[in-house]
Symmetry: C3
Subunit: 420 residues, 3 copies
Amino acid sequence: MNLNKDGFVKSSLFHISSLVRGVAMSKSAGCCKRFLHYAFDYETPKTLVIPSLGVGFVFRFTQFLVVMYVVGYVCVVQKAYQDTDTVISTVTTKVKGFAFTNTSDTEPRFWDVADYIIPPQSDHSFFVLTNMVVTPKQVQSHCPELPSPSTTCVDDCNCVEGRSDPRGNGIQTGLCENYSTTARTCEVLSWCPLEIDTKLPEHALLVAAENFTVLIKNSITYPKFNFHRRNILPHVNSSYLKRCEFSRLTDPHCPIFRLKHIVSEAGEDFQDMAVKGGVLGILIDWSCDLDWWAGECLPKYSFRRLDNKHPVNNVAPGYNFRFAKYYKTADGEETRTLIKAYGIRFDVIVFGTAGRFSIVPTIVNLGAALSFLSLVPVVADWFLVTCSRKRDLYSRHKTTHLTEDADSASVSMGTTYGTQ
Amino acid sequence: MNLNKDGFVKSSLFHISSLVRGVAMSKSAGCCKRFLHYAFDYETPKTLVIPSLGVGFVFRFTQFLVVMYVVGYVCVVQKAYQDTDTVISTVTTKVKGFAFTNTSDTEPRFWDVADYIIPPQSDHSFFVLTNMVVTPKQVQSHCPELPSPSTTCVDDCNCVEGRSDPRGNGIQTGLCENYSTTARTCEVLSWCPLEIDTKLPEHALLVAAENFTVLIKNSITYPKFNFHRRNILPHVNSSYLKRCEFSRLTDPHCPIFRLKHIVSEAGEDFQDMAVKGGVLGILIDWSCDLDWWAGECLPKYSFRRLDNKHPVNNVAPGYNFRFAKYYKTADGEETRTLIKAYGIRFDVIVFGTAGRFSIVPTIVNLGAALSFLSLVPVVADWFLVTCSRKRDLYSRHKTTHLTEDADSASVSMGTTYGTQ
Amino acid sequence: MNLNKDGFVKSSLFHISSLVRGVAMSKSAGCCKRFLHYAFDYETPKTLVIPSLGVGFVFRFTQFLVVMYVVGYVCVVQKAYQDTDTVISTVTTKVKGFAFTNTSDTEPRFWDVADYIIPPQSDHSFFVLTNMVVTPKQVQSHCPELPSPSTTCVDDCNCVEGRSDPRGNGIQTGLCENYSTTARTCEVLSWCPLEIDTKLPEHALLVAAENFTVLIKNSITYPKFNFHRRNILPHVNSSYLKRCEFSRLTDPHCPIFRLKHIVSEAGEDFQDMAVKGGVLGILIDWSCDLDWWAGECLPKYSFRRLDNKHPVNNVAPGYNFRFAKYYKTADGEETRTLIKAYGIRFDVIVFGTAGRFSIVPTIVNLGAALSFLSLVPVVADWFLVTCSRKRDLYSRHKTTHLTEDADSASVSMGTTYGTQ
């Protein structure tokens, strides 16, 4: 450890030193010398070495605790030495499956992907139609309103031409018509016949939808780290992809999901949910540790119902929307089939944070830890002067007390020894 | 504070101490003893206690300032003791309302949700049609171009078969045809008749759209904190939801918004905006303090026009897109109605950061603060040796100067006293 | 630097001092005096000034290194003094262009935006149809399955009524029918005729799509900094916008992109990609330094293919989806044209982090840096006692060793000098 013989340091220092001496020899060098003293005189605390095993042990133990905390918690558990980035992702989905419906209300019908996925493609969600209220052959015309307290009438005087009730279905023509043999309601200008959406089938129409499968292709990027990955892992080949199906235990990385499985993993019953619809989240967690020693970066799938369905506050339940298919009759009149579509919207939510070693958070956290190391002497000193056996002796050697009235130029150290 | 009698510490220390002494008794223990000295000798700075109220006051006051800063600014204002997470959200929207149009250009028509929401559902935005240019009964055929400097012609020589001008409407057939009695233009292969989109109605067609309402259902998650919430608050019941309407003063948590209200809160006029369309942001801020003492976590709504409409740089104003409804005539020919749809796209933008107490940022920030505490003695020492009344006395006792030529083994302290 | 004459500090301190003295005069003031001593006695380390140019140089140099690190790396490179926020953005897109197709398989057809953009509008992506398999005039009926090992049959016994094979195209009726003169397959209930999607055109149908252009309007917000910006820059006027086209060299801020250019910048060939489809990311990076000295905040465009197409793991390649156009025949029967649409989905991905000076990260990082400054004396002291020429002399003056058996009240300093 004797660096005295070290050529570079010694010689360069000597060089400066002799330079300084040379400069000092010159006449106007007093100021320069003072500057050198000011800049390079090194002020170091005088220290007292105390050969006490107890105090030394407390000192080392406190040091050990701080180091343990830094290594164990900040570095290992919280990975505070890493810089982080948020995921950017793209998703495509492809549903497969068909169904055949043959209920008493509707005529037999075969359904395939083009029928039940609305709209046919979307960014990171897909909607599977499971139930519906169909109102075919609507045309722009007049028809009596659906009976309700605000629409029933006795004669034309109850109906005001041009009135449009927000809870109604059209603009009143001012006439009172027979809705049925028992009820008379105001006539409205609207798409007629009106939709009667109170007759929602008790059982979902497309019960077979639970066996549909969806292939989710998800590519992600961590732009800060220039890291790209997709959820179809490198080792997956076409034949595996044709027959596999996601299962947390046996196929945790197969990107093909059975809808029933998704819903049941979210703690819901598919048939229940299919009746009134809902929103289901397919969460893909790409949280990754990108340091080379941290192994692979793999997607973790989880499923959660996103709309609330708790009976305690079950307001505005389910998920539905209306759309229409427009036709033209032979004579050019526009007609439409209105569909109130109930179904499950599957939102693919990709999230995640990647961490990779970076010098700045490391420095910041090490700095914070070093600050705690500077607390260690405070603890040890406190132990020294209050708890150690020879605390009086140590205090006497460590601390010099100036008396308040010490105005004389030279105070003997002895006089302050006994003050505490 | 006398811990001398403390059983555990004393006895365990004594145990080690006697162990050490026992080891030291053995023959080869010199090296071991030196190691113990090296590891457990405690080196502590010698200190000087100065009973000066002034210096002490400066010291305590600087300490107080640092502590105040840490508590007041870092902790209270910036909440630097919290770990943060970014919101993950899902949105569904449902528009309600209908309109009746009866202008000179178009035939009377009734509009409901299925007609003016395009596409019928989307992730976190919805488009409300407010104005349009309709071109019905288009078929694949030939027709003369719309007159413009690049399409007018005198005879067939001006038109090149197969040419497709990017600013034109189709592929030229090479013929020059009469567009009107006064103008001749090149014939093109296209969907004919061509759309004439210069005749945009001055007033929006669906002026009634301002009274449409939209129910926004928004569920959010902070995955790091496993925190879920929706914008339909727990105390909201169905009957309230049926009649309420968002208002910043009276109903700040009703999730039903009147379109006119949204647009006017964004500082725009609905009728103006409806003519050429635009994009309006419905911003939902879920920034929350999830510490238990911080109270509730509620959504804050705000509205902002997202496309620029300032007259100083009004390039590419408004929002519109084209879509078509396809029909088949009785003889199997495809025909379509082209619609250039102007309207307002409402983007629901959910953002927010939640914070919750976490030990790592706390440590980091406390560490940084402690570093500042280590600056306090520097300030106090500076005050001590430059500003205090007895600064010469203090300096003399605090600082020992080695003279540069002190080569003798023992230097009397007295000789350095007068050097500064 | 002589602040002795400073009125305020001196007088206020004197005031307190005389107050204390006054209090001390009173009878029960002993306790109070002790408290004042306890609170305001200032304990400062005794220091030794060493006039060694070498040690001083090491000290200043180490200090310089730490300061350089803090200034150079933390502040300049990593901008650790900034608070950051993540971008919130809205995107609208508008594609322009038309195409004419006339292949042997299909009848001549003219395509415009309403035909090839599906759905007509979307949040932050658009799909351009480039290739397709069209199956016109499908109706709900019976037809023999497409031949495959699982669907071929000899007689009706091979087909089970009601069976639905997930890899098939419909629900079996139990009959075995002639598919062609050579093959017999089970009859299924489905949309007939069945789609034969193995006949995908080798060359993309809409080859002209490469010359389509897209105008991307993107507005962004950094909510934390209340900063708004759009990608149509303030100096852009309408006439420039009509004729410009994005080019990294000549028009880096023109928001109009030719599709071919996007694809080729992503390192792909448009004609290749158009056959089977794909997903292309248009990445807009709004990373900005919002401090006033940092100049402008401009979008940076980049393009990347988001789905994987590497031949080593080319499973599930391309991008396609099915949709249908529904018609009604004159007698009210529903018929549809099924389209399996291949094409390129362009995802506009907006990301970025803005930074602006903020006091908290500055404090945290300065704190961490100051912690490192506290390491400097450790380094210098180590150099002092191990490497400097007069290290014995310096050690002797700096460090006092207490002997282990020093039980006497007064230990002469001389006795410990020679111990190390």
